[in-house]
């Protein structure tokens, strides 16, 4: 079975030799190609090559079409990205500086003709050609309720969300929802088949139950309605979200959840598996390792944690082992140790 077959088997709950093993290596690609990050991220060919080489080196199942999270802000005019040689690029200048800027914000008519898409498209073309039939190709899409944080900063967005004028907030959210809808269509057309829907504001951890129900949920429905939830993975930027899994499964119909390491994995698994029947028996709990600790963990500590996660996740099937966005400070040997353990403890009878 190919890694893609293994992923599909895990979602469907059909037999497979092992669980899927995802490892999210992004910025390490620049190191792999021996070039500065700014140069690496300037070309889709570089990112694709970095992904393919790391995939060959480490043997994990997935590849990424994501450059860096702040790339979505470039579609709205962000021209300044802060590059670092030891970590992820970061939005260096917010396009919304005052509330007046919200009215001027333009969603591109066709994002596939926007310069910010061009390199992503090249990357996806290469990945699809090289591994599209055998490996999951991941894309990262920010939910409308979370995208404003990239456009104006988290605190300014929180202020507008919590105490600003509702019409202005909704005007911004409508633009972000429109962008999401166009973006997800573009990624699907270009061959991405694991669509990570990043929705930190779609948690009661961020906004509380009242605002989750009255604000986050309606906007998530609006994001997802036109394109549907096929291949969508619910992810909250590593924030805990077990409390909303039933809502997300019942109301959004999303059955694949990338669970926070701060959440109780056994609880998440039980919530998800209890609702599989509503989803034609399809669904997936992604057990995520707290990869920041891999920076200093010993081989034994790493193996013990991978074993713990797999032992919780494997019974009952519908399980994937995954990482967060692996920090560059993690030693290469620890990545090998983690993946070796994941393949070993993730073997299925």
């Amino acid at each position: 079975m190919t890694p893609l077959d293994i992923l599909v088997a895990a979602i469907n709950g059909t037999p497979a030799p092992r669980i899927p093993v995802f490892c999210n290596l992004l910025d390490q690609g620049a190191r792999e190609l021996g070039m500065p990050q700014q140069q690496y991220y300037s070309r889709g060919e570089h990112v694709a090559e970095g992904q393919l080489r790391m995939n060959r080196r480490f043997g994990h199942d997935n590849v990424w079409s994501l450059f860096y999270v702040g790339k979505e802000a470039e579609f709205f005019g962000c021209e300044k990205i802060l590059y670092a040689e030891d970590g992820s690029p970061n939005v260096g200048d917010f396009v919304i500086k005052t509330w007046e800027d919200i009215a001027k914000l333009q969603v591109p008519d066709d994002i596939t003709t926007h310069p910010a898409w061009a390199e992503t498209a090249k990357c996806l073309n290469i990945l699809r050609e090289e591994v599209g039939s055998s490996r999951p190709i991941c894309a990262y899409l920010t939910a409308s309720t979370s995208l404003p944080a990239l456009l104006m900063g988290m605190d300014k967005w929180m202020e507008l969300l919590m105490s600003g004028p509702a019409d202005l907030r909704d005007h911004l959210l409508a633009k972000c929802a429109e962008f999401y809808q166009k973006e997800v269509a573009a990624y699907r057309a270009a061959g991405a088949n694991v669509l990570v829907y990043s929705s930190p504001f779609g948690t009661v951890y961020f906004v509380g139950r009242n605002r989750f129900d009255s604000l986050a949920m309606p906007w998530m429905k609006r994001d997802l309605a036109p394109g549907g939830v096929g291949n969508i993975v619910y992810y909250c930027g590593m924030a805990p979200f077990n409390a909303v899994i039933p809502d997300v499964m019942n109301e959004l119909n999303i059955a694949i959840h990338y669970v926070s390491p701060l959440d109780n994995l056994a609880e998440a698994k039980s919530i998800i598996n209890a609702r599989l029947l509503q989803h034609d028996g399809k669904g997936l709990t992604c057990g995520v390792i707290d990869d920041i600790k891999l920076i200093h963990w010993t081989r034994e500590e790493t193996r013990a944690e991978v074993k713990r996660i797999c032992e919780i996740g494997k019974p009952g099937g519908h399980f994937l082992f995954g990482t967060g966005v692996m920090p560059m400070a993690i030693p290469e040997a620890s990545i090998h140790d983690m993946l070796e353990a994941a393949f070993e403890f993730g073997t299925l009878p």
Binding site: L82, A84, N90, M162, G208, L262, D290
Partner: protein, 225 residues
Amino acid sequence: MLERIIKAYNEAVFETDKEAAFEVINEAMAQGLTAEDVVFKVVIPAVEEMMADITRNPDANLAQHFMTAQIAAEVTERMLEKFKHPPEIIGRVVIGTAAGDLHSLGKRIVMGCLKALMVEVVDLGVNVPAEKFVDEAVAHDAQVIAVSAMMVHTATGENGCRKVREILCQRGLEEKIKIVVGGAPYRFDEALYKSVGADGWAADGITASRMIIGLIRVVKDGGGP
């Protein structure tokens, strides 16, 4: 009367309703409550209560945390202008996000709590070089440098807290200025703060503020552990 005001204010803060919180305060002042009473008997206990609630209430959330701190800071700032005598300031902190980091939510939560607790705060903004943290701490006679970092490389890299520690060490300032850190990476790995040379970290605004006040006292008492 005070009990009713406290209850109404706490409810407004819990609902993150800034407007309602200010209405309660205005009404309290109209009924004769002093600015000092507003800060010390209403605002500070509310901050303490809300932050304590975060650990015991499963529905307490980041937005509440943020709004509580902002409302508290704003009310306190307005009330300070009306104080009969300037309040005793506990100490001074310079705060900013680490070099390369523009995430300012955590910084603002801590700033709000500190201001409400009578700690003077010098906000250095975002993407602050290590040298600037130290220079400004010296210039403002601050007892604590607070470095916020939301990304692993800005939390653990050579240009963040580690470099602040290095400069303090080079200039012989380690007994006079303490360092605290905050941000998501420290939450995911609670041992991380030590490895970057910080004197402490905290997961939320009020715990951070209490810890900072403790460190201010350590410095004022001579700087020893």
